[in-house]
C-alpha cells in the first residue's frame, strides 16, 4: 500500500474510533492541510517528493485518556507515550501493523495558552475535510497556517522554508494579521515570531530563550537544557523539565533495543547521559565565557 494511502487510512481509522468513543479531535498536518498548504516538496538529498509518514491529531485534553484507552481497545499499541517522545512531552505515538502510525498530540508546542482553552478556540472554528473519503474535523485555514508556521520554526530544511513561504510569506497584510491575531489568542506569539523571522521583536518574553535555541541551529544538550528550564512557566515545571531531560528513557531504549533494557544497560545509559551532560556543559560554559557580552 502506498505510504500516502496508509497515512490517509490512519486518519480515517482514528476519526471513526473518536466518533465511536465520543472523543473530540482535530486532524492536523499532512493530508489534513488544505491543498494550498499541502503541495509536496522535493527531498533535499534524493530529489524525490517527500510526504507525511504518519498521521497527526490534536485531542481535546480532557478526552486524551479516553482516546488512548479507545485506541488500545481497537488494536493499536503505544510505541512512545507522552513522556517518551520529544522534550516537549506533547505527543504519544500509536501504531498498528497495517496502517501508518499516529501521533496523538495533547497540546502543540509553541501554543502556550492553557491546552483546554486553546483546543476550545481551535474547535470553535473547525472545518470538515474529507480524508480518504471520511469526514474529519480540521482547524480552519488561519489555524492551519499558524500550526504549520510554529512547527516549521523548529526546522531549517528546505521543506520548512517552503512551509513558511506557503503559510506566511505569500500572504497579504490581512492574511498575516489574521494569523497574528490567532497567535495572540493562543499564546503562540513567540513561536509565530520565531517561525516568521521576527523573533527579536519579542526578546524578553519568557519563552524567547527556548525559541532562540530552536531557531539557532545549535544542537548542544546544555544549551537546550538551559533554554527549556528558563522557558518553563513555573519553578516546579522548570525543576521537572530539568530533571527529566537528564534521565534516560526506558521506553525509548526498549524500542531501540527491541527488548527491555537490562539493569546494567540502564545504569550505563545513566552514566553516559550524565557524562555527556557534564562534558558538553563544560564545553558550552567555556564557549559562553569566551563570547563577548
Amino acid at each position: 500500500m502506498p505510504v500516502d494511502a496508509a497515512v490517509a487510512f490512519a486518519h480515517a481509522e482514528v476519526q471513526a474510533i473518536a466518533e465511536d468513543f465520543g472523543v473530540d479531535l482535530l486532524h492536523i498536518k499532512g493530508p489534513a492541510l488544505t491543498e494550498s498548504l499541502r503541495r509536496p516538496w522535493p527531498d533535499d538529498v534524493t530529489g524525490t517528493y517527500r510526504r507525511s509518514n504518519d498521521a497527526d491529531v490534536l485531542v481535546r485534553p480532557s478526552h486524551v485518556r479516553r482516546f488512548t484507552a479507545a485506541l488500545n481497545a481497537s488494536g493499536w499499541r503505544c510505541l512512545y507515550d507522552f513522556a517518551d517522545g520529544s522534550a516537549f512531552e506533547h505527543a504519544a505515538t500509536w501504531a498498528r501493523d497495517d496502517l501508518s502510525s499516529v501521533d496523538v498530540h495533547r497540546y502543540f508546542p509553541g501554543i502556550e495558552a492553557d491546552p483546554a482553552t486553546a483546543f476550545d478556540i481551535l474547535w470553535a472554528a473547525k472545518e470538515s475535510w474529507q480524508i480518504a473519503g471520511i469526514h474529519c474535523p480540521v482547524p480552519d485555514l488561519t489555524a492551519q497556517r499558524l500550526i504549520l508556521l510554529i512547527h516549521a520554526a523548529r526546522g531549517r530544511s528546505r521543506r520548512d522554508q517552503a512551509d513558511r513561504e506557503r503559510a506566511w510569506f505569500s500572504l497579504d497584510d490581512d492574511g498575516r494579521s489574521d494569523v497574528d491575531d490567532l497567535a495572540d489568542r493562543l499564546g503562540a506569539r513567540v513561536a509565530l515570531r520565531a517561525g516568521t523571522g521576527r523573533l527579536e521583536t519579542v526578546r524578553g518574553e519568557r519563552t524567547y530563550p527556548l525559541w532562540r535555541y530552536l531557531t539557532s541551529g545549535e544542537t548542544s544538550l546544555p544549551a537546550l537544557w538551559v533554554a527549556r528550564v528558563r522557558s518553563a512557566p513555573t519553578l516546579r515545571a522548570s525543576a521537572r523539565i530539568g530533571v527529566r531531560m537528564l534521565i534516560p528513557n526506558r521506553q525509548r531504549m526498549t524500542t531501540q533495543l527491541g527488548r527491555a533494557p537490562s539493569g546494567r544497560e540502564v545504569v550505563d545509559a545513566y552514566r553516559a547521559r550524565f557524562g555527556l551532560g557534564v562534558a558538553s556543559l563544560q564545553r558550552w560554559a567555556r564557549a559562553r565565557l569566551r563570547r563577548p557580552l
Partner: protein
C-alpha cells in the same frame, strides 16, 4: 438502482496516467478499508472500475463497464451485477436512497 460509498468506508485511488494513448499504463488501483478495524483491500483494473462507477452513482453500471471494456452488454451483465452484489455484501458499497424518496 444506484449505489454510494458507505460513510465508514475509507478509499484511496492511486493516480494513474489516464491519457496514456498506448493503454500500457498501470491499471487503476483503489484501496478500501472499512473503519474502524477493517482489512485493507485492493481492487485492480476492472474490479476497481466497477467499484468507482458504482460509487460515483452511475445509474447503469453494466452499460458503462461494457462500453469501457468494449464488450456487448450481454457478455458482461451477469459478471458485473454479481460483482456489484458482492461489494454490497462486503459493505464496500450501499444502495443509494431513491431520488424520489422524501427524507
Amino acid at each position: 438502482m444506484t449505489y454510494r460509498i458507505p460513510s465508514r468506508v475509507a478509499h484511496y485511488i492511486v493516480e494513474t496516467d489516464v491519457d496514456d494513448d498506448e493503454g500500457g499504463g498501470p491499471p487503476l488501483q483503489i484501496f478500501l478499508r472499512r473503519v474502524p478495524g477493517g482489512e485493507n483491500l485492493i481492487l485492480v483494473g476492472e474490479a476497481a472500475l466497477i467499484w468507482l462507477l458504482a460509487a460515483d452513482g452511475v445509474a447503469d453500471v453494466v452499460a458503462e463497464v461494457a462500453e469501457a471494456a468494449g464488450h456487448p452488454l450481454e457478455v458482461v451483465r451477469s459478471d458485473v451485477e454479481e460483482y456489484v452484489g458482492s461489494l454490497v455484501a462486503q459493505g464496500l458499497l450501499e444502495q443509494a436512497p431513491d431520488r424520489g424518496t422524501v427524507a
